[in-house]
């Protein structure tokens, strides 16, 4: 039997977990975006050392599990005298992890901006940085929206791993409730609905952004094709 009363009883706890998951997602994403853009810019710079440094960072993060990275931050670093609270380790771990994937996404985005647009900017006297920020970044941002959505959704789900460093986010709140009620069906189905809610909102937000930004050739072509019913 499915016990709805039980869900109502534990809803406040689960909603608190949902809120924590949203907070850690936002924190991790904000940090990840900053790291990702910086790493992408550095990897495209003319300084070879920077290029290799970013390469090493991306390879290390992508080559090891997030769970391990969280454990290193929270359990291993204190042995070296670097102690941090669980929330700090959580946001840092998520941000550093997302940053590596976002760096690759942004690098691809920057490389997809036609060189001719850059040359036009430089021919007008704009500097490397002015061109990067005013001409390349906005175009790259539009190009990377679809892979960015993937990464954000993946990040939301990754936050479940910070439950292992004792942060009561959505997954952990669910586990605690189940350990008390012995009602995994009711509790975990609500947890699943909550994750879906976050991710569907995110996906739709990005889709909306894409359409709003879609003044490029592709959406123009799509409009034309819609006109003729294709």
């Amino acid at each position: 039997m499915y016990d709805f009363q039980l869900i109502l009883t534990y809803l406040p706890d689960l909603l608190h977990g949902l809120w924590m998951t949203v907070l850690y997602t936002v924190g991790g994403l904000a940090l990840g975006l900053v790291i990702g853009v910086c790493a992408a810019v550095l990897s495209l710079s003319r300084l070879r050392a920077m290029h290799w440094l970013v390469r090493a960072y991306v390879d290390f993060i992508r080559g090891t599990p997030l769970l391990l990275q969280l454990f290193i931050l929270y359990y291993a670093l204190p042995s070296l005298g670097i102690k941090m609270s669980a929330p700090v380790a959580g946001v840092l771990g998520l941000g550093i992890n997302a940053g590596a994937y976002l760096a690759e996404i942004f690098r691809a985005g920057f490389e997809a901006v036609p060189r001719a647009h850059v040359q036009a900017a430089r021919s007008l006297g704009m500097s490397y940085w002015q061109t990067l920020i005013r001409i390349e970044l906005p175009q790259a941002a539009t190009l990377v929206l679809p892979p960015l959505a993937n990464e954000m959704i993946s990040l939301v789900k990754s936050t479940s791993l910070i439950s292992t460093i004792s942060i009561a986010e959505l997954m952990r709140s669910g586990q605690i409730a189940v350990s008390v009620t012995f009602a995994p069906l009711e509790i975990y189905s609500v947890v699943a609905v909550f994750y879906l809610l976050i991710n569907l909102s995110l996906a739709n937000l990005v889709r909306w952004l894409e359409q709003r930004k879609g003044s490029g050739a592709r959406s123009e072509a799509r409009r034309t094709l819609m006109d003729v019913g294709v």
Partner: protein
């Protein structure tokens, strides 16, 4: 060209310009002077190095050897103590580029900005022009190229000819000393070419110094003060258009003209 301007310092001066990519030599010692208010067209078979010359003229390409002077100032380099060549600082190169307009075959408008934003971007960022002032200048230029009504349009919604006229306006907004035009009508539909050529002709009448690479022989004849014929990285012939098109001296030029005319 009158006697006075010929005696004055040339606006553009190219001395023994060479450009190599690895083993391949594109430019083999180009010499060329362009006087203020003069219009020079570079013509020649594809691969002759015309576009490379233009790209060296605003330092989108660095010369392998030789020098380019614009308004008496050497592009990209300064002579240090003992005659040693030193690369200019990036800010200095940017300042030089800002004074040399370049219009590209593929327009290269920025697709994420409106027509007006494309034009005011560089004056505001590079010259620090106030937004209101930049917009006023941009609107004047758009009016001049006949596209004031399109100021809020996105570039992708314009025809090729319209985009190219916006690109010209974008270059003019920096009030360049020289305007370089690289096959600006080659990517256009035939019916939109004329509008672009009319804009360029208007600039010539107003005294804009221009160097243009073109395949439009009739236009070269119409607008140019001098025609420079290039082949295989060498300037083969320099002559006034009426002389060049009616009686080219060099046999390569004769062969080229017999193919394109």
């Amino acid at each position: 060209m009158s006697q006075d301007t010929a005696a004055a310092r040339p606006m553009v001066s190219v001395r023994q310009l060479t450009k190599r990519y690895g083993e391949h030599t594109i430019l083999k010692g180009i010499n060329l002077d362009v006087a203020a208010s003069e219009v020079v067209t570079l013509i020649g078979p594809s691969g002759s190095g015309k576009s490379t010359v233009l790209r060296c003229l605003n330092f989108l390409e660095a010369p392998s050897s030789g020098e380019v002077l614009v308004d008496g100032e050497r592009l990209g380099y300064v002579e240090g103590p003992g005659g040693k060549l030193l690369r200019r600082a990036e800010a200095d190169v940017n300042r030089q580029r800002a004074e040399i307009g370049m219009v590209f075959q593929q327009f290269n408008l920025w697709p994420h900005k409106t027509v007006l934003e494309n034009i005011i971007e560089a004056p505001m960022l590079v010259r620090g022009t106030k937004r209101d002032e930049a917009i006023a200048i941009a609107r004047k230029l758009l009016d001049r190229v006949g596209l004031l009504a399109k100021q809020d349009a996105m570039p992708m919604t314009l025809s090729g000819g319209q985009q190219q006229r916006v690109a010209i306006a974008r270059s003019l907004a920096m009030q360049p000393k020289v305007l370089l035009l690289d096959e600006v009508t080659s990517a256009l539909d035939p019916e939109t070419v004329r509008d672009v050529l009319d804009v360029i002709k208007g600039l010539a009448v107003d005294g804009m110094t221009m160097v243009l690479v073109t395949h439009e022989m009739s236009f070269a004849r119409e607008v140019a003060d001098r025609v420079v014929f290039m082949d295989e990285g060498i300037v083969m012939e320099v002559a006034p258009p009426e002389q060049f098109f009616s009686a080219p001296r060099h046999e390569r030029a004769q062969a080229f003209l017999s193919k394109v005319l």
